[in-house]
């Protein structure tokens, strides 16, 4: 166990953790955040995605020791129901969800990619989502939402 400081959604938290603990557990258990989710624990599905220093990462595969002091953003850090981030608004406007469990990974992966590649083509966006899963297969609506967001920010 050691004291590790995590900067999450703009706030610093010092936690007593085994340094090998995957970031996901610190976020969802120690900090009680509901955005990042355990999907597979293997980095294969995207449900646990967080944005660290601007890049989407799989928090189930990221030891807390490797992200100490870095800027961590979760789905909660984008916006709230009262003050939605435009990409969250785009998903709501398109009705782009069924069970909603994958939304965290889809939204954060798309956002981080478009932040770095604002002029990405549809094919490039698809490529960026090539290891993100939605088992309800709400794919058409999610791509429509991402395109709506991409157009709005261009």
């Amino acid at each position: 166990m050691s004291a590790i400081t995590l900067k999450v959604n703009g706030q610093s938290h010092t936690l007593e953790l085994d340094p090998s603990t995957p970031l996901l557990y610190a976020l969802s258990d120690d900090l009680d955040l509901r955005g990042p989710k355990f999907g597979c624990g293997l980095g294969q599905c995207g449900a646990c995605t967080a944005i660290v220093n601007g890049t989407a990462i799989r928090s189930c595969q990221t030891p807390v020791s490797s992200v100490a002091g870095k800027e961590i953003v979760t789905l909660e850090g984008l916006g709230t129901p009262e003050k939605l981030h435009p990409i969250q608004k785009a998903f709501i406007d398109e009705g782009a969800a069924q069970c909603g469990f994958c939304l965290n990974g889809v939204i954060l992966t798309a956002k981080a990619f478009l932040d770095k590649n604002p002029k990405a083509t549809r094919t490039q966006i698809q490529q960026a989502l090539s290891t993100v899963l939605c088992r309800c297969f709400t794919h058409t609506r999610m791509h429509a939402a991402i395109e709506r967001y991409a157009k709005g920010r261009a």
Partner: protein, 761 residues
């Protein structure tokens, strides 16, 4: 096998079972109501009007991501003439809501939107409010109108009384009146509109509470240790192997069930990995390569769905006889989030937070598992990751309950990916023979369908916790299997879609089917599976429809008929015809036989395919046309476009219906192209997203056009499982149209496609 399959055809048949049109939801699944449920015949069990006039509705049909909560809220708002936001919907809590059996099988729309249950409760309450208002205002009820929770005189809006003034905060004490007048769809202001799901903002911002997010004071975390191979039993556990680990609270062993409880989830994960457990060797598994043929030879429980007893002579007389065999693999629910539950078992009482589809059965079966009285257990539904049927929801709730009971504290359990996938109740594997005789004119004169399906366990129902892995490991047995011959069918029941759409479906003295072919026989052999099985979205209906609709295409091709025209030639049901024509029209279907003339035998080609179904015989109608591209050099199949015609009666929420049709079609496409459970001689070898594939968000997604057919004067039917039922067959037919190669086994992997291309004559 699913309880409803058990009742409706794929399992042992209980004759005379009534599906759509039954009095209660229990009739849909054939399980008697569970003691302690609020009485379904009392309006107060469904509707409460508070002192401030706000309305709470109680339903036994839960939101799983299919949008049914929104539609139910619309329904109650509509019947009671209040805005959508005025209604609060509470679903699936054994402390609060009526037992409506499972939320499954496209049964929620028919159960709660026709003249019974929630719809009748709301309509009965509305009539009672009008009656009370009439007395209070001293005018006949037919001169009154209602809006926003206020009943007023049509001719003078100042003469009015509110719901709150009439009954606010009091019980209604009314019996459900199935004749209570419902609003006709032509009058709808709330129902029938594309109202957005109110939970989406919380979901999109990470504020929504899934069962995974339930946190109780003093809650601990559990992890289970499943056997490494099929059939293994526990030999020994070395508790000392984890004794020194930080946070470990207890190692729990119950017969073959092993689990660890720790203070934090990561500690539980590590302890479960480190715990030294000795298991006996596997009892072995049949070879996957011969599996489909081997199930023909097993002892079977047989079931006849229709039998005109003249198929043999009819086939002997036929100008042409065609026979084909189709194979459908075991497939997974493969929930994105592995299953999770939180249990709080304290002494004689328990509270279970569960993503189960059947809270009342979770209650009675957990009582058996825990040795508690069912009345002392409360099961509260909390959203899980989409389940698509019997995923790990029930089994993980048992895991949490056993571990919580062992430590006397609340315990949260989330399964590992491997424990979810290697031990879930897979969708059954099928081997299906289709045989038909054609007249000299090319019409079908006889159709035989003979199927073998392997099942083990099922939903636990009211008293079989051993139907899922945790209950079994803890010492309970799955539903007993007894082989036996079939009885002659005494009534028409196509709940499993074993009966093709094109036959008369003659049983019990009348024709229940949707087609014209009078010489018909459908025989199903149920055999024991080496793996646990249970209902997976469109159980039995999807594999059967895959076989029927591909075979229909083979017959049309044999007589060089257009596949749509040939289907229409043998159909007599206007709603099946309606969705087929709607899809064909949207696709600008070109009338001609398959395969497509002029396509080369190498390189990239395109083709189109069609399929149609009357889901469960009469519970929703879908026709689909797809356009595919096939790379004949690599065997890769890409679906380019889809057109869906869907009819589920009066449309309760067009956006919700569209979302179900789109998602169902794409999920079915993933199942048709890449999904298959695999195994070696002792264990399941598909246990993560590398070994069990699912088309990701990054694949080349087809465009989907949906034609929603509104039927304001028909009964509400199912919707969510209809599109997925037809897509596989349509893709198979499109591959044939593009290449002239018929592929009869899903998934259509590049290897199987290339094999079929090689076999072309």
């Amino acid at each position: 096998m699913d309880r409803r399959d058990f009742l409706k055809g794929a399992g042992a048949l209980v004759v005379g079972f009534q599906m759509v049109g039954g009095n209660t939801a229990q009739a849909q699944f054939g399980i008697a109501p569970i003691a302690g449920s609020p009485p379904g015949d009392q309006v107060d069990s469904w509707i409460a009007i508070a002192a401030d006039g706000s309305i709470t509705a109680y339903s036994g049909k839960e939101e799983l991501g299919q949008g049914i909560a929104t539609a139910q809220q619309q329904l109650v708002a509509e019947e009671l003439s209040v805005p959508f936001e005025r209604v609060k919907l509470i679903y699936c809590d054994t402390g609060l809501t009526p037992d409506q059996s499972y939320t499954a099988g496209s049964q929620s729309h028919p159960a709660n939107f026709n003249h019974r249950n929630l719809a009748s409760a709301a309509a009965t309450a509305a009539e009672a409010l009008f009656k009370l208002a009439s007395q209070q205002l001293g005018v006949p009820a037919d001169q009154l109108t209602a809006a926003n929770g206020v009943i007023s005189l049509q001719s003078d809006a100042s003469k009015k009384v509110t719901y709150a003034q009439l009954v606010g905060g009091k019980k209604l004490n009314l019996t459900l009146d199935r004749n209570a007048k419902r609003k006709h769809p032509s009058q709808w202001k709330v129902l029938g509109k594309p109202i957005a799901r109110p939970e989406l903002p919380a979901m999109a911002t990470g504020q929504f509470e899934f069962v995974h997010n339930v946190r109780l004071p003093g809650m601990l975390h559990g992890r289970v240790v499943r056997p490494p191979v099929i059939g293994a039993t526990l030999v020994s556990v070395d508790e000392n192997s984890v004794k020194e680990m930080a946070g470990v609270v207890k190692v729990v062993v119950r017969k073959n069930f092993v689990g660890v409880v720790a203070e934090k989830p990561w500690q539980a994960v590590q302890a479960a990995q480190k715990l030294k457990v000795n298991w006996s060797p596997s009892t072995g598994l049949p070879k996957q390569a011969d599996f489909h043929e081997s199930i023909r030879k097993q002892p079977a429980r047989d079931l006849l769905l229709v039998n005109s007893k003249d198929t043999e002579p009819a086939l002997a007389k036929a100008a042409t006889v065609l026979k084909s065999t189709y194979y459908h693999p075991y497939q997974m629910h493969g929930s994105l989030g592995s299953s999770c539950a939180v249990a709080d078992v304290q002494g004689e009482r328990a509270t279970l937070y569960s993503p189960t589809q059947g809270v009342w059965y979770q209650k009675t079966t957990s009582a058996l598992l825990l040795g508690l009285k069912p009345e002392n257990i409360r099961v509260i539904y909390r959203h899980g990751s989409g389940c698509y049927g019997l995923n790990g929801a029930d089994t993980v709730t048992y895991d949490a309950a056993i571990l919580s009971q062992a430590v006397g504290k609340p315990v949260r359990v989330q399964l590992s990916r491997k424990d979810e996938m290697a031990w879930e109740n897979f969708g059954n594997a099928w081997t299906i023979d289709e045989r038909a005789g054609l007249s000299a004119q090319g019409n079908i004169i006889a159709w035989e369908h003979e199927a073998w399906t392997a099942g083990l366990g099922n939903r636990p129902g009211a008293n079989l916790p051993g139907n899922v892995i945790t209950g079994f490991l803890a010492g309970f047995q799955p539903a007993a299997f007894s082989p036996g011959p079939a009885q002659e069918p005494s009534s028409y029941n196509n709940g499993s879609n074993g009966i093709p759409s094109y036959v008369a479906g003659h049983a019990g003295g009348s024709d229940g089917g949707t087609g014209t072919i009078r010489s018909e026989k459908v025989l199903v052999h149920n055999v024991v599976s080496p793996f646990w099985t249970g209902p997976l979205r469109s159980p039995a209906r999807l594999p059967n429809t895959f076989a029927h609709e591909c075979f229909m295409d083979e017959l049309a091709a044999r007589v060089k008929a257009d596949p749509v025209e040939y289907r229409l030639r043998h159909l007599r049901h206007k709603r099946v015809i309606g969705v087929l024509n709607a899809a064909a029209k949207a696709a600008q279907w070109e009338t001609r036989p398959s395969p497509k003339p002029g396509n080369p035998k190498a390189g990239a080609v395109t083709g189109r395919g069609v399929a149609v179904v009357a889901y469960e015989g009469d519970n929703g109608y879908t026709g689909i046309v797809v356009e595919v591209a096939v790379d004949q050099d690599t065997g890769k199949v890409t679906v380019k476009r889809m057109w869906v015609g869907i009819d589920s009666g009066p449309i309760s929420n067009p956006d919700g219906l569209r979302n179900q049709a789109e998602g169902g079609a794409l999920q079915g496409m993933s199942r048709a192209l890449v999904e298959e459970v695999t195994w070696d001689n002792e264990k399941v070898t598909s246990f993560d997203w590398r070994t069990y594939r699912s088309l990701p968000l990054g694949f080349d997604i087809p465009t989907i056009a949906c034609v929603l057919i509104n039927q304001p004067d028909e009964e509400a039917t199912g919707a969510g499982e209809t599109a997925i039922t037809v897509i596989g067959a349509a893709i198979g037919n499109a591959i044939f149209d593009a290449t002239g190669a018929r592929i009869r086994q899903t998934p259509f992997s590049p290897e199987r496609v290339k094999e079929a291309l090689k076999a072309r004559t």
